[in-house]
């Protein structure tokens, strides 16, 4: 069964980072600025405001926990950790240190300054 996702049109100023764009964002010349599916971040919102974009359409987040798309940053900590352990399995099997595992885990699971909960 296909999951239905509610779409919200909202002003750039009020969209919380972490959600996912439901529609592509185009400029006045119909050039693509951001494709549908891109996770929203605070610096991206700042850039859109600079370019005079007033509104965007985002996927409503029924859980309120933020986006969990592969490229997105948020998601449950357990899911993120499990996926990263799967990706980093060559190093883990050989008990080799890879500092990137911890850095990417921290990136994916921590709030950044300027992002709303």
């Amino acid at each position: 069964m296909q999951e239905t996702m509610q779409t919200l049109a909202t002003t750039v100023q009020s969209v919380p980072p972490g959600l996912v764009l439901a529609q592509p964002v185009l400029d006045a010349h119909a050039q693509l600025l951001l494709p549908a599916g891109a996770p929203v971040t605070s610096s991206m919102l700042h850039n859109l405001q600079q370019r005079g974009i007033q509104t965007v359409s985002v996927q409503a987040d029924p859980s309120g926990s933020g986006a969990s798309a592969p490229g997105g940053r948020k998601g449950s900590i357990e899911e993120t950790q499990a996926r990263l352990h799967h990706l980093f399995r060559p190093a883990l099997r050989m008990e080799q240190l890879n500092p990137l595992l911890h850095l990417i885990l921290r990136y994916r699971t921590t709030q950044r300054p300027g992002e709303e909960p």
Binding site: H29, L32, F88, L100, I104
Partner: protein
């Protein structure tokens, strides 16, 4: 199983599916500082598909231009010669191997990872004062040996893919098992054949094993960028895996935690936009 010699690899390169002439000319001009903006714009404009993709990428939020550019000549003025050359090379290569057929090879995942590595290398180079255009192009081309192998030996490469899945090992380990060489070795021969600068040839051929005693350079940069792009899960491939990280190369890059976070953020924001501009 077979043992590929450098001569056999060079033969495979000569027999590659014809890349558009403009792509080969762009690749060969990468190390040429004499090429003029007019010559370059004229070359890119000759190929409509590449010119259209180049404009799409130049107008995307990755470059954040203040206004829309409508011609290659204008894009050259605004983006600069070297950036435009990287962008057009990317656009040309992404379409150049589309007709190769190898069972189990996922072109979309391949290019998503290559574009992710290019963006990561670019973002790191900005913070470490390395050459950002060379970084972008190198990121995009670092796995080019894989495309040569799937084009020249599709049946054998399909077996290497099956071996990788069965053993759950890294792809370059499976390639070594089937061909006696891996895509990095093959990529180095290709880059040499295309007359890339020696530093670029070395970075492609050593991107899985940077020398322990070297100084920081493009090899360390692409090695770390490749690792990060796999770690950020940009290929969307369920069974993807992050290669082993050479800690001496990581130390030489000397990225702070804050710089890493900035790089992850920049790449996560730009990846979909650039994939959309370059991929079919």
């Amino acid at each position: 199983m077979m043992q590929l010699t450098p001569e056999a690899i060079r033969r495979s390169v000569r027999e590659l599916p014809a890349l558009p002439a403009v792509v080969l000319e762009l690749i060969q001009s990468l190390g040429d500082s004499e090429v003029s903006a007019e010559q370059l714009a004229a070359k890119i404009s000759q190929d409509q598909a590449i010119a259209a993709k180049t404009l799409r990428l130049a107008n995307s939020s990755f470059y954040g231009l203040p206004r829309q550019v409508t011609s290659i000549a204008e894009a050259t003025t605004i983006l600069g010669l070297r950036t435009l050359r990287s962008v057009a090379t990317a656009a040309g290569l992404a379409g150049g191997f589309a007709h190769s057929r190898c069972e189990g090879f996922d072109f979309d995942a391949f290019w998503r990872h290559s574009i992710g590595t290019a963006l990561t290398a670019h973002a790191i180079a900005q913070r470490t004062r390395q050459d950002v255009d060379a970084a972008f192009t190198l990121g995009l081309l670092h796995d080019i040996g894989r495309l040569v192998l799937i084009s020249a030996y599709p049946a054998e490469y399909a077996q290497a893919i099956a071996y990788r899945a069965e053993q759950d090992c890294l792809m370059h380990v499976a390639e070594k098992h089937w061909f006696g060489v891996d895509h990095a070795d093959v990529g180095g021969v290709v880059a040499e054949h295309w007359r890339f600068a020696p530093a670029v040839v070395a970075a492609i051929s050593c991107h899985h094993r940077p020398a322990a005693d070297s100084t920081r350079g493009l090899t360390d940069l692409v090695h770390v960028a490749d690792n990060i792009a796999h770690g950020l899960d940009l290929s969307h491939k369920q069974d993807d895996m992050v290669p082993l990280l050479a800690l001496d190369a990581w130390s030489r890059m000397a990225l702070t935690d804050a710089q890493c976070m900035e790089v992850f953020d920049a790449v996560s924001q730009q990846h979909e936009v650039v994939c959309h501009a370059l991929l079919p």
